[in-house]
């Protein structure tokens, strides 16, 4: 298919259609309402269901019900709305149902603002709801990648029978970029309900299924939690995704950032390269499972003196970076929040400040010797 210019939110909506999604439930909230507006038109065209619920609480639970029918279903929202879905997310995870959630993050806490942020990292990765569960979390940095990850999200949700969360900062939803969709017929990617033995598709020729997250017997509940844990361990083995940019043995510093911030960091790295300063970028694409070993591998390279994490938050992913590096190198942080997108100059300033102080430190330590 030809490349077309599309707004991120609309591209996400179309990607879900192409992935064979048959149900979309939503509640309007800026900056992602265009997904709903696009699908209000598009879903009935492909014979799927579109429903604007009475709240995000309703939407979360409609998804629980809809996923139980075995079809591919999803929602999109933004931070305050995703907070209201946490109860349902916990239940959906506990009941082993595949649902795709998209969070086009805006700045919080509370009502916050409507401008881009990455301050829902903890909520997405560490579990915003109660109980021992994890979400598989994907973070696109371009509109094209948002399309690709949406398609992948449905496959992964099905593979693990677990909710998948795609988190994009507000920029991903609002910017327009050229995108390409696979040439597939939306109906071709729809699931075959016959094969979905876990779904509530009737009990002809098989035992009835009960879709639930309630286990009053503690041994049964532990068994369920261990079963879930096994899935998360498998994700850690099979699903880690990341991208490296200008990573080489010459790098003096490694930047770790995700989403659109990583693109700003690329600009910074290009600029520094032209000034003779070698910096590499590690961009996690899966935030859970987190590319721990891979970050460690890059960070422990001889030339690298410091790792800098850049986020649109006051520092959330940086905790996972610290955990990955386990003290091998100092981990520093730079962030802007409140809806402010960091500009290349300030990130560059931070990098140079760190490299400068590293140089100072190494010369002074040499003197001491």
């Amino acid at each position: 298919m030809a490349r077309i210019l599309m707004k991120g939110n609309e591209a996400i909506a179309e990607a879900a259609i192409r992935a064979g999604a048959e149900g979309y439930f939503c509640y309007p909230i800026t900056p992602q309402s265009e997904v709903a507006e696009y699908l209000a038109k598009r879903m009935p065209e492909v014979g799927g269901v579109f429903l604007q619920g009475e709240s995000e609480v309703a939407v979360g639970n409609m998804l629980f019900g809809a996923a139980s029918t075995g079809k591919r279903v999803f929602t999109t929202s933004s931070s305050p709305g995703i907070s209201l879905m946490q109860e349902a997310i916990s239940y959906i995870a506990g009941a082993h149902l595949p649902v795709v959630f998209v969070n086009i993050m805006r700045a919080g806490p509370g009502l916050g603002g409507i401008l881009p942020a990455q301050s829902d990292y903890f909520q997405s990765v560490k579990g915003g709801g109660h109980g021992d569960y994890r979400l598989l979390v994907l973070a696109p940095s371009t509109v094209q990648e948002a399309v690709d990850l949406m398609m992948l999200a449905f496959d992964l949700a099905d593979k693990y029978l677990n909710p998948v969360m795609v988190i994009g900062d507000g920029l991903i939803g609002q910017m327009m970029e050229a995108v390409e969709f696979p040439d597939s017929d939306p109906k071709q990617n729809r699931v075959n309900l016959e094969e979905r033995k876990w779904a509530a598709t009737g009990a002809k020729g098989r035992d009835p299924v009960i879709i639930k997250s309630l286990f009053l017997d503690p041994l049964e509940l532990e068994e369920n939690s261990l079963l879930m844990d096994k899935k998360y361990e498998q994700m850690k083995k099979e699903e880690v995704r990341y991208e490296l940019y200008k990573v080489s043995a010459k790098n003096e510093l490694l930047v770790v950032s995700y989403g659109t911030v990583a693109r700003i960091c690329q600009t910074v790295i290009d600029e520094l390269e032209s000034e003779g300063v070698s910096v590499g970028l590690f961009r996690p694409i899966t935030l859970f499972p987190f590319p721990e070993k891979e970050i460690y591998r890059e960070a422990k390279k001889k030339n690298i003196k410091t790792v800098l994490t850049v986020e649109m938050s006051t520092g959330q992913m940086v905790e996972d970076v610290e955990r990955a590096i386990i003290g091998a190198k100092p981990v520093k942080f730079f962030g802007r929040t409140g809806g402010i997108v960091p500009n290349p100059e300030e990130i560059q300033g931070k990098v140079l400040e760190l490299i400068g102080s590293m140089k100072k430190r190494s010369t002074s330590s040499r003197k001491r010797k």
Binding site: T30, K41, P44, P80, L111
Partner: protein
């Protein structure tokens, strides 16, 4: 509350009354489109309140999120701008702890009836002495014209591009059925009546709901070919009937009509008073 000496001066002229209650400089200009009915409701509310003569410090205004819910931010009372749909629980918290305060909630049709629907019926049921002004523009204004629980069947919105398949709520019937003790409907085209309805609602002891039919020409008007603000107001005027007149009309005749006036008014015990009775009875023992 920080109020300057200038603000506190009594208004000289009738037309100054509204300005007297606004927060000059700090929060204005407002976010509303030109011609929006929400400003009319604000002016009318202020005049009603001024007639009662409540001290500004005795009034707490609470709202959720939406164009209509921005209103308390512009007025110089104890203002709480809270979460989408949950102004009534916040207001309940205030009123129950400070029954001496006059607590007023400003809400939209989406705010009160969609995400806040559960809270709405329970505030009515409790008959707590709060006045709620529900600004009904039949659509979600702030987020860009999506359908709301009062978007009529077949009407267009950005999320009902083929016409709405759902049915709509009648907020007044809902409130009356849920236990509210003063329920009225006014419209932004009939300001003197609206002022009376709001004033009576503020003075009523128990839960009062005043639904105000309002134009959102930017979204509802445009998407449903109802023209600009003036033509929407004209439409309201042409389609309105009084409560008295409506009593002699058939359901078919009433379809598409806007019934204006006091819809429901009864006396029932009020929640905070009842609770106080329990506390007092225990003191005596």
């Amino acid at each position: 509350m920080a109020t300057t000496a200038i603000e506190k001066k009594a208004p000289k002229q009738k037309s100054d009354v509204v300005l007297h209650y606004l927060r000059p400089g700090k929060k204005l200009p407002h976010v509303w489109c030109s011609g929006c009915g929400i400003g009319v409701v604000m002016g009318t509310y202020i005049r009603a309140l001024d007639k009662i003569g409540w001290d500004r410090d005795s009034v707490s205004m609470v709202s959720g999120i939406g164009c209509s819910s921005r209103m308390p931010v512009y007025m110089d009372f104890h203002s709480l701008h809270t979460t989408h749909g949950r102004a009534l629980p916040f207001a309940t918290g205030i009123k129950f702890n400070r029954p001496d305060m006059n607590v007023v909630v400003i809400t939209g049709d989406g705010d009160a009836l969609a995400i806040g629907g559960n809270h709405f019926i329970h505030a009515c049921r409790r008959n707590i002495n709060i006045t709620a002004i529900l600004i009904n523009n039949n659509i979600y204004g702030m987020t860009g014209g999506q359908g709301s629980p009062t978007t009529p069947g077949n009407a267009f919105s950005t999320t009902t591009p083929y016409g709405n398949s759902e049915k709509h709520f009648d907020p007044c019937s809902l409130a009356a059925a849920a236990g509210a003790t003063y329920v009225a409907r006014g419209s932004v085209h009939a300001v003197p009546q609206l002022e009376k309805l709001i004033k009576a609602g503020l003075e009523h002891v128990g839960f009062s709901l005043i639904e105000v039919i309002t134009n959102c020409h930017t979204y509802y008007g445009r998407l449903n070919h109802q023209g600009d603000a003036v033509s929407m107001l004209r439409r309201f005027k042409e389609n309105s009937v009084s409560v008295a007149k409506s009593k002699n009309m058939t359901p078919e005749e009433l379809e598409d009509k806007i019934v204006l006036g006091v819809i429901h008014e009864v006396e029932k015990t009020e929640f905070c008073n009842e609770y106080q009775k329990v506390v007092d009875s225990l003191k005596r023992k």
